[in-house]
Amino acid sequence: MNKHSFKLVGVALVAASLAFAGCGSRADTGSSSGGTTGKVATIGVISPLSGDLSALGLGIRNSVDLAIRQANESNAIPGWTLKLSAQDDQATPDVGKNAATKLSSDDTVVGVVGTLNSSVAQTVIPVLASATIVQVSPANTNPTLTQGEDLANPKRPYANYFRTCTTDSVQGPFAAQYLLESGIKNVATIHDKKAYGQGLVEAFTTAFKAGGGTITDAETINPEDKDFSAVVSKVKTTSPEAVYYGGEYPQAGPLSKQMKGAGLNVPLMGGDGIYDPNFIKLGGTDGDLATSVGAPVDSLDSAKAFVSAYSAAGFSEPYAAYGAYAYDAANAIINALKVSLKDATDAKSARQATIDAMASVSFDGATGKVAFDEFGDSTSRVLTVYKVTGGEWKPEKTGELK
């Protein structure tokens, strides 16, 4: 009886493993066409390719793939072929570290695009730093990653780390600037206590107060919350003219809906985390606002080129929120490689030179001008305010943060 059941389990396990083999579509083999002659340098990607956030992660992988294909086609680095190695971090620090270790023990890896989550970055950066591999994140917004723990006295912790997205310290003040200019002086803030949301609200609050505005109420929610009625009721008693929300669209949409349901008919404003069509599907209503980095896509030639190249490349997933940043991140690395690989004999020895070359990278990317300051942050300060109009995000105002 017992032996029999053991056999059953064994057969079931093997049958299951056969079934896995049957459904395998292997994500790791990023294809990059172009010449197969010459030396090979690999650009890694670390992002969530499976799980909740895989839509964002796959968009990042595909956009980097696109940049690499274009570089190989145009023979951007003579004598070298670029390859992609995409690793899944499942949005968890542990898995991310394994991915980073795997990449750093591959001698052809010269740069890594990733990660999506700041918490994963915290374990990935040290691994890549010890192997002197340049890392460019398209999505980490936590300021401490580039400026160290004491933001008043910034000190760069890792020389190999750069990012193409802007940090919370740029978007928050830009939103404050916009609201003040629109004559709104009383705003309540809510954030989801995550690094992104909290940082956004802190930066917003400082700038808004400095501009003469009043924060009527500061509240927090939990990232998994669905029921915001208590928070909304509290905020409502302070009668704000707008609510500034730090967080992402899965909460922001329902929050906006519940605000209006409870009779708090004021716009909800947020950062690029809510600038997503799903925000409107989940309850975002006309009048709600969001800031996002760069000028609107259809006003920028480089951005239009990216969008059309992406759709022409035939990826099965959309480029999602961070695709353009990832594309720029990959191109930043490629631009640095043009300098560092020129006289290099092998990829590994060019790693330090690549990091050094990053400082002077400057080009027009899909999100606007791409260049890095002394901390490795993007120097881009052009932002756009978008407004929900007729059930769609429409650009409201593009400007530069003063």
Partner: protein
């Protein structure tokens, strides 16, 4: 809005939230009362009810322009029935395939199975819901269809704004409570349930089909959970595959609070928990702690009144 209005507003919020918990908690209590199993996957049955109702709406051709009376009298009941069918079917399948073979196994086995079922159901919906032609991907939240006349509609009572979805939830609870009372006390299956919960062996000797009674208990709990799933969708405007986890945990807390195994207790426990949570979010520090208060309440109940507020028939099965 003055402070008195704020208090009453939060009380109403708490009562409607509590009705939601109560509807789910009944499922825990009924099943526990009869088979002494904490059906950990009950939260997922609630989630499946919501997705079932959504599927029904899709099958109906996503009607969004029906008039309010037509929506409330036809669309909503049909969606609820769709949700109930889905929930009850899944609940009965899990009972048949996962729990029944373990009925005489050590206590740990069905609990571990229940966790497995819970994770499996969540993942199943996440991975495969989008494969139904025309259906949205369930990997992130899906916007629940709005029912004209309920979604977004409010009524004003004094300074307090009451959402129609809250009225719906409260009304659903009252109707279900009356139904349950009738079902348990006046029908043959209901009385067989009471008999089985008191002494399964004697019940069997008296000619009661215990398997049927257990299935009935799972089905009743699942049906109520499905109604809660629809109420949840109307209240928050969106549903997702993870929604059953926290809601299930809270509902279990409510069941223990009222006295697990006691149906009236589940209802009272749910309402008390909802109100406590709502008021604590307003008056006890930041609202980020509200879930903590709910669980602290659970632990306090276990220390000082393990039989729950209304007292349970079955307290210990050590």
């Amino acid at each position: 809005m003055d402070l008195v209005n704020l208090f009453f507003q939060q009380l109403i919020n708490g009562l409607s939230l509590g009705s939601l918990y109560a509807l789910i908690a009944v499922g825990y209590t009924v099943v526990y009362g009869i088979v002494q199993l904490i059906n950990f996957a009950h939260g997922e049955i609630f989630m499946i009810g919501a997705f079932g109702a959504y599927a029904t709406w899709m099958v109906l051709g996503q009607p969004s322009d029906w008039s309010a009376p037509l929506s409330i009298l036809v669309l909503l009941p049909v969606m609820i029935i769709g949700g109930i069918v889905a929930s009850v079917a899944v609940a009965l399948l899990t009972e048949r395939w996962a729990y029944r073979p373990l009925r005489n196994a050590p206590r740990l086995a069905p609990l571990i199975t229940a966790i497995g079922v819970s994770v499996f159901l969540q993942e199943f919906v996440r991975l495969f819901y989008g494969y139904i032609p025309g259906f949205p991907d369930a990997k992130s939240a899906i916007a629940f269809p709005s029912v004209p006349g309920i979604s977004g509609a409010t009524i004003q009572v004094g300074g307090v704004l009451i959402q129609m979805s809250a009225v719906f939830t409260l009304a659903a609870l009252v109707v279900c409570w009356v139904f349950l009372w009738y079902y348990v006390n006046r029908t043959k299956t209901g009385r067989a349930m009471i008999a089985t919960s008191q002494d399964p062996d004697t019940a069997r000797l008296m000619g009661i089909n215990v398997d049927k009674v257990i299935m009935a208990a799972f089905a009743v709990g699942a049906g109520l959970a499905a109604i809660a799933g629809v109420a949840h969708g109307l209240r928050y405007g969106n549903i997702d595959f993870k929604m059953g986890f926290l809601a299930g945990l809270k509902a279990f807390t409510a069941a223990v609070l009222g006295g697990i195994g006691n149906i009236n207790g589940a209802v009272v426990g749910g309402l008390v928990l909802g109100v406590v949570e709502s008021l604590a979010a307003t008056y006890l520090g930041a609202s980020a702690w509200k879930d903590v208060w709910a669980f602290v309440l659970l632990i306090l109940v276990l220390v000082f009144r393990p039989q729950g507020l209304l007292g349970a028939k079955v307290v210990d099965r050590a």
